[in-house]
Amino acid sequence: MTTDAALAPAARPRTHYLNANYGVLSWLLTTDHKRIAILYLVSISAMFALGGMFAVAIRLELITPAGDLFQSETYNKLFTMHGIVMVFFFLIPSVPAVLGNFLIPLMIGARDLAFPKINLASWYIFIFGAAFTLYAIVNGGVDTGWTFYPPYSTSFSNTQVLAAGLGVFITGFSSILTGLNFIVTIHKMRAPGLTWFRLPLFVWAHYAASLIMVLGTPVVAVTVLMVALERTLHLGIFDPALGGDPVLFQHLFWFYSHPAVYIMILPSMGVISELVTCFSRKRIFGYEVIAASSLAIAIIGFLVWGHHLFPAGQSAYTGLVFSLLSYLVAIPSAIKVFNWTATMYRGSIKLDTPMLYVMGFLGLFTIGGLTGLFLAAVGLDIHVHDTYFVVAHFHYIMVGGAIMGYLGGLHFWWPKMTGRLYPEMWARVAAVIVFVGFNLTFFPQFIVGYLGMPRRYHNYAEEFQVLNVMSSAGASILAVGYLLPMLYFAWSMRYGAMAPANPWGAKGLEWETPSPPVTENFPLQPVVEEEAYEYAKGREVIVV
């Protein structure tokens, strides 16, 4: 690979994308994908803090069996808003909108995404949608659960369903446009020599996730729109009083919202692929299979939504088919986990912070995935449906998987994004705290759920108290683990050591640009002449 930057990796540019110009407008009107990534980073971090506060309130209430801290109505709003904020305004944009936005053009040797103005527009759409949701939260909140099931959401709830629903509807288009931008960029903007099977697996994972964003999100958008029309204009599409079918809503909702889990996890899997090969100093095991498994997850992921409806009156035959398809989608996920561990096998593993998150991801995602198989089995699912077992399962995927990947990626590329190194010791401590706190929070929930504690109630039977106190204690540890990175990342932007172009000795075009990159990414068009992850060939010079 030949660029000017590669010849002098430690040379620090006098101007780069962060100091190219100053002022609020230079950020609010930017079309630079790197700056838009930073805009997203700031906005979704704020939403994460907000969603986290709701989680804290939930765990506080559940310390005691009696519903003594919040009224049941308030509690309903707390878990609803926790879900809406975390799913639609943090997890779905997290890796793609921040890391994907920043890295995809750099990784494929392009100067920007294909549609830079649409990229900025999607951030504004996100903010607009968030504003609706915040309005709903401030004006009394919403209590339908993040799933908006009718007829409660259409005919009975007297909370801010409309504003919250419109917020979700609007922010969906931000996701659609981001996915559209990624697909076109990956197809049309690759550097000369960068064939499909030389692409970083991070890019493959984003391609697969983008397919879901473009083809899935509009379905939930129109579904929420129909709920909104039913609430405001009294159109009766799901209304059982007219002979309408509320289960139709559930089908439409989960047609998106199950694949949405893959929007969250696939990009994180892409991060893990990059990290595991870099910190094992070994070419990734089974590149083509990992790439193909991303697509397989995206495609099969569209065919499993019915496992959310096992107790909703589906026919036994339908349940059987969806159960089988849900088992199928575990195969490509398992392939990835096996290939990552095979990559580590006999690698020279270096336990820097990003690698700690990889190890955390592997363990937690495996538990989350395996318990997913429990839930894909119709008989067992009917036993544990709507219990804390389900809550624990999807938190192992969305928090233990997706957020672990996000944090690992954020640490890995932080020097590239900001030009500064974060304090490694603190970061390792935080990674361990996150892992311990997470397990203490959510593992007891598997047990308490299996024993029969239902989700979404503010009180519970007394025999569940010990496990719930453990969970709440874990949540407070987890909170510390999440606060620490926020603090030392902010600290490092001013006081961190200057980062070299390639602090990890990693492969990939993004590391051949200076840290932070210049606005146009590559002064000269890079040309790719080798396969991805050629770690075995020659010893890299790690400049620190």
Binding site: L229, L235, I237, G244
Partner: protein
């Protein structure tokens, strides 16, 4: 960037040439249309489910729609697709006046369609066929008929909204074409808007028989 000297003004900084830029726009537009299909698809699915559940009610309710007005509107929209295609063709040939003429013709036909739609909606209000507390429908099928009309208003309303978004875009294009922005080497916006307009027309081609003709034999 190396070859700043010969840049076409419409060439963005991150593309090598106009051809590549146009290819990217085309792929982006087709993806957008794919997401539009999924967007409308949700409502078409709801229609399919309920028509299978309540075929008699749907046929009966459909009789209260004016198939003649719907038919006229179908013809109007097909004509507007023709004028849109002619506008794209004129842009590719660089006939500035013809681009403007055909774009304005498309706008006029779109406006006629929306005008007819207003008449139809008004008629439904008068006959209490708008879902809600004032809905009135004779016979045993009153409740599923209300579902039919819910879908009618949701689907045609969403379709009309797409036309309402399209018309100002066409007007801006006409203005820019008048200013001489588009010629044989660069007319991507005209072509992309054309794709959008044709898509919106095709949605109607499906809506018309499903809503207006389903009760006729």
């Amino acid at each position: 960037m190396s070859e700043v000297a010969h840049h076409h003004p419409a060439l963005a900084h991150h593309f090598e040439d106009l051809g590549g830029q146009k290819e990217a726009s085309g792929l982006g537009m087709w993806l957008f249309i794919a997401q539009e299909m999924m967007f409308f698809g949700g409502m078409f699915l709801a229609y399919t489910v309920y028509r299978n559940l309540y075929p008699a009610a749907f046929a009966e309710a459909s009789h209260h729609l004016d198939w003649k007005l719907g038919g006229i509107n179908t013809a109007v929209l097909i004509c507007s697709s023709l004028t849109m295609a002619l506008a794209v063709h004129a842009a590719a040939l660089g006939h500035r006046k013809k681009i403007v003429l055909f774009l304005i013709a498309t706008v006029v036909l779109g406006a006629i369609f929306l005008g007819v739609k207003v008449v139809e909606y008004g008629d439904k209000f008068e006959h209490h066929l708008v879902p809600g507390p004032h809905f009135q429908f004779e016979g045993a099928n009153a409740r599923p008929a209300q579902i039919f009309y819910s879908l009618y208003f949701a689907m045609t309303g969403l379709h009309a909204l797409h036309m309402i978004i399209g018309i100002p875009i066409l007007l801006v294009l006409a203005w820019l074409a008048h200013r001489g922005r588009y010629g044989p080497e660069y007319h991507t916006p005209v072509e992309m808007t054309g794709l959008y307009w044709h898509f919106v027309d095709i949605v109607w081609i499906f809506l018309f028989p499903l809503l207006y003709l389903v009760g006729h034999r």
